[in-house]
């Protein structure tokens, strides 16, 4: 270089250099001697002598290249595929030793118990309110059998979803979710259909939420009004007498027949005109669904939902409170069980009923976690225990549902009321004036108000991402989507507030694709590609697909 021929130190130029630089680098040149320390000691679990050759030479290159460009220039910074994996990263201490970082800290690993709890928490949805009704629709014995059987079936399907990315050869599928697996096996069709059915479950959940929120808001408001005005509503409701009142909101339905919807307004026999006008302003199906719009529509339009994610603990508290509530009510009411196997009676339902597909539909949504199980299991510390932890989680969920369902069904006071009175939302069987149930309703209302924007965010991300490729294309796109979702919720709440039906239809629909058909097909195809598909296995998986189809069809006919 030309520099070789210039004198070693040019006094004028160095003078210039001194003044050009800031005070920080001024005269302290001795400390700025460049040095390079190759560490000799590594501190980690197994004794090892040196930093690996790859890491050392990459370190040398990165050091050198960083001198060639300005610090903000990314031209010569190492791209991601060049940087070694986390097992090869060392932290250099100034004393010359290097420490290996054990474990990856970008995805924190949880012990099994946390993973099991996360799965339980995610699966526990509002379907818990419909389990007693489902047991009633299927019959007590058949209901229990179906619950266990469906739980096991869905556990198996979840297991094959969980292991599906691992069976994909030649491709790094470690950060794939189940829709990506469907895209790998079935192309664009697989991607779009798994997206569509996932949407069905999400939007179904959002509609159910709107109906329930209207319900809870109505009851809470009614309770507060009655408490404030000392109105006693007990005469106008058909139910038991005594302190733990259980009511039958629609006593005119015939047992054993299809559930007919009837929007019955409670004409309050009270003489105050203010009561009547309050009824008009505070009506479960007429006005309250609309009152929720100004509260929730703005929340849906937020760009990020991370604020609402903090409130997931409310869901756990609600479920625990519900369990406590159910226990206390059972203790107070006692058991009322009579086993009529196939015949209908005035107060009881047969043990085996033809309406059981309605319960399987509800259970398909109740046990549904297949679209996010892979992500949830990724943070499990001991990955080899994944199957065990999943099974334990399903067991706990099944036990919770069974507990709530059986106890409510058994404790339902049958001599004065028919078992057929059990509502798709079992809290509706308790009067507005019940304090414990009021607390439950308020809890659930708050919980739903915080989960609703989260669900809306998920729907928005999936819809906008799939159709426009951008999570937030413009405010008007998002607003249009939100209006559609809210509109469907309001319409359902006005005209068809039967959450049992909404749950079973949306459950059976999304279950068809994401629980039965796609996992079974994926399993069969991957087994065949590996050459280990035996005919009993093929038969069983085909049977699963047929079950899924039958489940959906039965919802329409039963």
């Amino acid at each position: 270089m030309e520099d070789d021929f210039r004198p070693l130190l040019n006094p004028e130029q160095t003078g210039e250099c001194y003044s050009d630089r800031g005070s920080t680098d001024s005269l302290d040149f001795k400390t700025k001697r460049p040095f390079h320390v190759e560490p000799r000691n590594i501190v980690e679990d197994d004794p090892q002598e040196r930093v690996s050759a790859e890491a050392a030479i990459l370190n040398s290159r990165v050091n050198y290249y960083s001198r060639l460009t300005a610090s903000s220039d990314r031209l010569l910074s190492p791209p991601n595929h060049v940087i070694p994996g986390p097992e090869e990263l060392y932290i250099y201490s100034p004393l010359g030793t290097a420490f290996k970082v054990t474990g990856s800290d970008h995805s924190s690993k949880n012990p099994s118990i946390i993973t099991i709890f996360a799965i339980w928490n995610t699966m526990m949805g509002t379907s818990i309110l419909s389990i007693p009704w489902g047991i009633k629709q299927a019959g007590f014995t058949l209901g229990i059998i179906i619950l266990i059987f469906t739980g096991l079936l869905m556990l198996y399907c979840c297991y094959i979803v969980l292991k599906s990315p691992k069976a994909i050869p030649y491709v790094d599928a470690s950060d794939w979710e189940f829709p990506d697996v469907c895209r790998y096996y079935f192309g664009k069709f697989g991607q779009w259909s798994s997206w569509f059915f996932s949407m069905v479950s999400l939007i179904g959940a959002m509609v159910v939420y709107w109906v329930l929120m209207s319900n809870f808001l109505y009851n809470s408001g009614q309770f507060i009004y009655n408490y404030a005005h000392n109105v006693n509503m007990s005469d106008s409701e058909f139910g038991t007498n005594g302190s733990d009142k259980v009511i039958c909101p629609f006593p005119n339905t015939d047992p054993g027949g299809n559930y007919t919807t009837s929007t019955v307004y409670f004409a309050n026999s009270g003489n105050e005109t203010s009561d009547v006008s309050f009824e008009n302003w505070w009506s479960k199906t007429n006005t309250i669904p609309l009152y929720l719009i100004p509260l929730l529509l703005p929340l849906l339009c937020f760009r990020s939902a991370s604020f609402f994610a903090r409130f997931t603990f409310l869901g756990t508290i609600s479920v625990v409170y519900l369990i406590v509530l159910v226990t206390i009510k059972t203790v107070h009411l006692g058991f009322h069980l009579e086993f009529h196997w196939f015949d209908t009676s005035q107060f009881y339902v047969p043990e085996f009923r033809l309406l059981f597909p309605q319960f399987t539909g509800v259970l398909t949504l109740a046990f549904f976690i297949h679209n996010c199980i892979i992500t949830l299991m990724k943070s499990n510390k001991h990955q080899e225990n994944n199957v065990r932890d999943l099974s334990v989680a399903y067991l706990l969920v099944g036990l919770t549902y069974l507990y709530v369902g059986v106890l409510i069904f058994a404790a339902f006071p049958s001599p004065p009321l028919s078992k057929d009175c059990i509502e798709p939302n079992f809290l509706d069987n308790f009067p507005t004036s019940d304090v414990m149930v009021f607390v439950a309703r308020t809890f659930l209302l708050f919980q739903m108000i915080t989960v609703y924007p989260l669900l809306g965010y998920l729907v928005r991300v999936q819809v906008m991402g799939q159709i426009f490729g951008n999570h937030y294309p413009s405010f008007f796109h998002v607003l249009a989507l939100n209006i559609l979702i809210v509109g469907s919720g309001v319409l359902m709440a006005k005209f068809y507030p039967n959450i049992g039906s909404i749950i079973r239809f949306s459950g059976a629909t999304c279950g068809l694709a994401l629980v039965f058909v796609f996992p079974a097909l994926v399993q069969m195809i991957s087994l065949r590609r590996q050459g280990v598909l035996r005919w009993p296995s093929a038969l069983f998986h085909t049977f699963l697909i047929l079950l899924g189809v039958a489940n959906l069809l039965a919802q329409f006919f039963m």
């Binding site: 270089m1 520099d3 210039r6 160095t14 030479i57 990459l58 060639l68 300005a70 010569l76 595929h81």
Partner: protein, 317 residues
Amino acid sequence: MSSTAMKKKVLLMGKSGSGKTSMRSIIFANYIARDTRRLGATSKIDVEHSHVRFLGNLVLNLWDCGGQDTFMENYFTSQRDNIFRNVEVLIYIFDVESRELEKDMHYYQSCLEAILQNSPDAKVFCLVHKMDLVQEDQRDLIFKEREEDLKRLSRPLACTCFRTSIWDETLYKAWSSIVYQLIPNVQQLETNLRNFAQIIEADEVLLFERATFLVISHYQCKEQRDAHRFEKISNIIKQFKLSCSKLAASFQSMEVRNSNFAAFIDVFTSNTYVMVIMSDPSIPSAATLINIRNARKHFEKLERVDGPKHSLHMRMR
């Protein structure tokens, strides 16, 4: 022959964005200012003439080849003879990720035609660059394909192909090979280097090219553990040179010593630096330095003696 004879050129050519400036910067330890990166991106004619003294008296010219701009192309064609005259080395860089293979080959061929006309004795090297973007198991395959195509296209000229990436040792090794082929009577240098090392009882002796600190040749008396040590030393010294240049100081020699070894880096011939590593710390530095100085005279004679080419490299000292 006067020292103002026509300077021979090293042409570094390739498509815009193929990595020429980064490569030049890394090999020759030049700071890349932000603006230089926009070389060839617009219709402005951006040609870099770096007066890097490389291998004696070669001037490094960096050219963007095959820009979209017709103005650029016209200038290129009209100045062709000027550009391609007196070329000692042509280094052509191909981006392995390029989608326009046909076009790239077309431009390469036109450069070769110009070389054939104007500097038929030039050495041609082709670098298939950015290989880190290709999956590891496919790299050999893809490089072999390209090499075959390039060798076929280059006839009657002979081209040497390398695959390179700035993120592994291939870049350093490729340029070391290029420099090795360009150093005059390098085999003789190597034999003499071995003799020199054995006489002074050194553990290892390295010969570096002066401008780039690429290792031209080395002698080691026993197996060394670190295969990447040449590149590391090169990087360290280039970083040191960068620091020195900030002070307008220049680097001539260095001694590093501890209880286990002593290492000496010093100017050797007009084209080279030498690094001597002694594992016997009892030998005083002065002795080794005298040995190096004496060897220097001998090696300079070697370089000066052979071939008419060298008369061009003589500088009036």
